[in-house]
Symmetry: C3
Subunit: 355 residues, 3 copies
């Protein structure tokens, strides 16, 4: 019998089961430096121990998305090694700051599953929770993937999709208790705009672009110990439709978020995501740009120094601004689809100082 | 007179001499993060401080191969700058855990040398020993290289090859005294198989593949401060037979070992190597796969919680599994040679829990 | 109104104004490891905590050029986002060691400005000062750049170029007070040559070469949080004269300095630069070599254990040594210009032990 893990198939997931994912990970200063080198991140909270301390934190915090990628990476081996498609995320919540030296692990619970009508695949929903070395939850999220069936010829008849909260409300969002803006200096972030300056409906073009090389995305994805084969194996990729290694969607989220610093400099961390779509695949050689649309603004319970901005972060590739404003969705054969240059559509909440 | 080091030639090596290699190196969390990003390593002992502590270690240990590459890298400048070929390794022993913050240095002793029959080159044998900041030995190994003669026209007549132990026995292998499996949890490794599950003669195909980019292998080799020109200089490489930069053989060992996690998840560090061969060169663009053959199983003196597995780790490039099982060696012109896709053949011992 | 920073134009700079640059940065062991991986640096002072302590430092110091790049990177957003050309550096002085854990910030003062005769651009001079978390200065330097005017049609008539000291003298150079060579062992550096061995007029060919990949220079430049678009955006670059991403000039300085280890092994840090020129652009695929010319030798006030060497560090690309010695400057159309293979001409001072 084979000693290697060939991943779980649709039939292997049991509703209610807990998957305890392997390879806990101590996140270090080395990971943070690599994250900056790989994405160009400039948010001061993750860059400067002094700035972070001035806000009440112990020291610089691990970038929320680096935490996400590490927590997520552990689930691949058990959840999505046989995934045909990553269908979505929901209710992604960042619950507590992560510091260099913390050790992260992930446990997933199977929330539901549903066989597809043609019987070859099915959809599986899981809630994954990342915890630190003290057992404190740092991140949880729901994700659903389409996975292959082990035995496509035998119908299971399973039709147990869970109810999913598709939108977080401000009361779902957790602001770290230690965050104290009374001593916040404005210069470290370099940004002039605060909560009141952002208007619902406003669109920000973040201007800067980043071209991705094969080494860049593979270094990032290996750093997260994410083992999905499609990102790494060109010899196999040669035989696929795209003939290319696919870039981990999370790398695009990180690039778009890092690019969005230019225009959102005062943002203090990601509070949660309502959902996200990898609208089109990306490949080495693509140049990524980022756009933000302000979807909503809400007060945060118990805080007058901070508000929550709900933003739509759109990643676009190889887009020529001279052609005018980009329509994120276009009509094609009577259906509304993403413009082929749109690669990411993320709906998320950030904390933004009011003063 | 030139102030640059152009390396030692055959005549420069004196039997019994000690070469004290330059550039001690403090190994840090940054190196460990980079090692994960460069190789995709997932062994929990090097990834999680908490898991390592549960086994009696101070914290996560530096990956054995990262230690090897750093200790080895220092010797290049004195031993192999004029090497024509790296002929082999023997009696490679890992003697003590290395932690982030430890400072490594290397000293080599010339064990013997032998002029080749045509008089242009000779073989030099050295034993290299890596020590930490307390002078404790962390690694030693024997290596032999073919080096150019300074004066090919003048025979030296030297024929003093040393006796070399070609196989380590279990009593040569050092298990760290602090390693205590009484509190080992199974979930961090993610593996189901223990010492008794592996059978002599068994072959494991580790499935996953990794395509190498120029940046990847150069970043790794620079991290190890290994200065062998052939890995870095494309302008010179253009004039060589291969017309390509050669990838440092150690990078292939690291990739193959990281790939072998899938099927050997419970392995607790490398105890030693009997020997290793870089069977064919690798270049950027090659995709590496790994196979393991179980060569031997032995108890470890004084331990019933651990056994030693002697494994053959084979690195293969651009191999299509659909063509069936790979013959590592093939017959060519009446001789047995490596299949041209085989790039590594490493014979090594690991520690594997028995329960 | 756009919320993104599109940078300052000539008219925006006010003589005497202070620009407090955003994004303070805690420099870590992770940055140091990446710097080694990106440049191949081998100077023992930055590699070994033990060696650094033997010289009186707290631990290994951050490579001077890594400090430079981080301090410089912060200025780009305010000083040179609209730069047409980086014209020069002067009076670059390294004032104090930087250790892992220190947090750096940068403030620039506008020293002067001068509109160019055609009225479309102007030159701006700034002095930038990097300080640590205790407010101690670690680096200062003067830089001048040609920037676009916001309104090319309206002459400003400004002609206020500052006086600039073009050469540092030994009395301007700061040797860290803690540096104590009484316990310096010779083996860690691996070099045989000390202050007295270097002769004015001597040229050293550092032999080794390094080919640059796109990932390498982008990783480095992102690590420094330097946001100049020309290094990262191939989609835009396709429309430019070069059709390539331009490599950050500082990466070439780092590569040339790391290559120069072979022949200057005992150098103990950079004391200052008189000036530097990026003589020709570099692109991915170029192979960099380094040459050093000894320009001057001076005692350092109050130290007989160290002297100052003034060196010219020349970076050359794709140079075939078989064609004989390189003329750094050549005559072209009656003018003296750089050989097109010369990419860097840096005039700097290092500290070299006398014994």
């Amino acid at each position: 019998m084979s000693k290697t893990n060939s991943g779980n198939f649709f039939e292997d997931f049991e509703i209610g089961a807990e998957l305890v994912h392997a390879v806990p990970r101590t996140v270090t200063e080395g990971d943070q430096s690599l994250y900056i080198a790989l994405t160009g991140d400039r948010y001061a909270l993750h860059s400067s121990a002094e700035f972070a301390r001035s806000l009440g934190y112990e020291r610089e915090t691990i970038n929320d998305l680096l935490t996400f990628h590490i927590v997520f990476g552990k689930t691949v081996n058990d959840v999505s090694l046989n995934a045909v498609a990553n269908l979505g995320y929901a209710a992604v919540r960042f619950l507590r700051p992560v510091y260099p030296g913390d050790t992260l692990r992930t446990v997933s619970k199977v929330l539901g599953k549903k066989e597809n009508s043609r019987g070859k695949t099915g959809i599986v929903w899981v809630r994954s929770t990342g915890t630190n070395q003290r057992g404190e939850e740092v991140l949880d999220y729901i994700r659903w993937v389409m996975v292959n069936k082990r035995d496509p010829g035998t119908p299971t008849g399973i039709d147990a999709a869970p109810e999913i909260k598709r939108e977080l409300s401000p009361s779902d969002l957790i602001v770290p208790a230690e965050l104290d803006l009374s001593k916040r200096a404005p210069w470290p972030s370099g940004g002039r705009y605060l909560f009141d300056d952002y208007q619902i409906g406003e669109r920000i073009d973040h201007i800067d672009g980043m071209t991705i090389e094969e080494s860049d995305h593979m270094l990032a994805t290996r750093l997260y110990q994410n083992t999905a084969k499609v990102h790494f194996d060109q010899f196999q990729a040669d035989k696929t439709r795209f003939k290319r290694r696919l870039i981990y969607g999370g790398h695009i989220i990180s690039l778009a978020r890092s690019l969005s610093y230019n225009g959102l400099e005062n943002a203090l961390g990601v509070l949660g995501w309502n959902g996200g779509t990898h609208a089109n695949p990306t490949f080495a050689g693509d140049t990524i740009y980022a756009l933000t649309e302000v979807l909503d603004k809400q007060p945060l319970p118990g805080r007058d120094d901070l508000g929550a901005l709900r933003l739509r972060l759109v990643g676009v590739k190889d887009w020529d601004r001279n052609e005018g404003e980009l329509s994120i969705k276009i009509e094609k054969d009577g259906r509304e689809v993403y413009d082929p240059r749109v690669v990411l559509d993320l709906d998320y909440w950030i904390a933004m100082p009011t003063r």
